[in-house]
Amino acid sequence: MAVSTLASFEYLEQLSGTTFQKLYRQPSTALAIFRRMLPHLGRASFAKKSNATGSLVPGLLLTLRRQRDEALSLLSRLYIVHITARTRDDPQVVSLTKGFRSSLQLALTGGGNHQSFGVPSSDSATADVDLHYLDEYARAQWEGILHYVVSSVGEGMHQASQGPTSAVKQLLKAGSLVTSGAHSGITQAGFSFLLQEVNAQVWTLLLLWIKNAEQMEMDSVDVLSFLFMLGSLELGRAYSTTTLSESQRQMLKYLVDFGLVYIPRSTPNQFFPTRLSTTLTSDATALRSVAAGFDAVNTSATGTKGFIIIETNYRLYAYTTSPLQIAVLALFTKLTTRYPNMVAGRITRESIYRAISHGITSDQVISYLSTHAHPQLLKSSAAHGGGPVLPPTVVDQIRLWQIENERMKATSGFLFKEFESQKEYDACVKYADAIGVLVWKSDPKRMFFVSRVEQLRDYLKSRKTK
């Protein structure tokens, strides 16, 4: 369930039904959510079809049914589908909610006069704004923000840069990605933020902003539908600001700070979406195109994509001059020497401990190392018949160091106990397992632990009334 773990949808799941009804009035929002949810919809309908033919192996069928139930429960949390409760006489009926369906139809057929996909500016476009310029602008703004987050760690390597605006700094502090005062510096949330993909980073920051915007008494529906609209705009095209609502226009100012849109100084009533915003609502493949887009810009500044060589003796050499990359490396490496074109260091037990205590996981470190592995490492792994890119000893050791430090696994949620009958217990456990919230159970004690309680509570109520 890679998609549902994204922060954006976790936020959406918390919203109320009326908010969703308002949101789905905008065809662009319906389309954006539909695009993002497509894997789940597909899984739901595929499982259904294969169920009908019955030609699949029972084990596989069970997995598919489970996946379908999980997908359906997510879709209903987002108010995309309406599911009637399963009773003895009627089979379960799943239908798209009315608001979502009509907006999606409008979006797909292109009918109506709703202006929810933005209005291209009729003024002549400024000549010097091309794709390259927009990418460069977005990259500079975003790296400025990242650098501000990381700068407290990579002290001494910090180069003078203008940094983000004070509004952005405020936001980072409000979201406790960085702290100020006596113990100023990066926080645990900030570390994980740094190692995320660009798209996830953008959403994290936007969600922080939305939460703050609620305090500023801006309409969260307005704000969200504007974001979803941004996701459907065309890169390199000028759009008019005149059709935007008041709070959306206010928001534009912040989006400029984030590097999501660009407003030319000469024509303040048009705005250009950058690559960061046009890929907001696309799926994983488009994420890579963000990275690819940035890589194209990056090549001039930082050389090739892969730059890290790591040896079996835990020594690490990184061919980079980018202060941002060096600062990120310094989060989990003991850097010792800096040369004009590279830095050298070691991965030690202490450096990994430090990283873990800040909330970085070993998997994050490993995936960072392997995605940025030097071409030479890739070449030698290919020569050995496509073996692992990183030395297995190092990878294993990093994992072991983490396990050593992780004494307990904690999951927050709810413990259910004191069931009246074995039958009631069995039914509840089965239901909790089917919707994918069951974490732990003990049949002899008739207790179980779930990570989410809402649906189970409804289920218990419906059992009661039966």
Partner: protein, 71 residues
């Protein structure tokens, strides 16, 4: 009607669990429900404090092995 109790499910080794029980035995501020020798439920707001106390307790009993190899 079954009861639902909010909390944090902690899964760990039996040795760690016994340390947690020992920490809790002082003032019973942490454990909500002792489930089995590898699982227990603790109060949600006490997780960070428990982690800290656990680290302290482990520091007393363990000698961190030193890193081998030179720079």
């Amino acid at each position: 009607m079954p009861r639902a109790i909010r909390g944090v499910l902690v899964e760990c080794d039996p040795s760690i669990k016994s340390i947690i029980v020992k920490i809790d035995s002082e003032d019973h501020a942490f454990i909500v429900e002792d489930l089995d020798n590898q699982t227990l439920v603790i109060k949600e707001n006490m997780l960070a404090i428990l982690k800290m106390r656990l680290d302290e307790a482990l520091k007393e009993t363990q000698q961190p092995p030193s890193d081998s190899g030179s720079e």
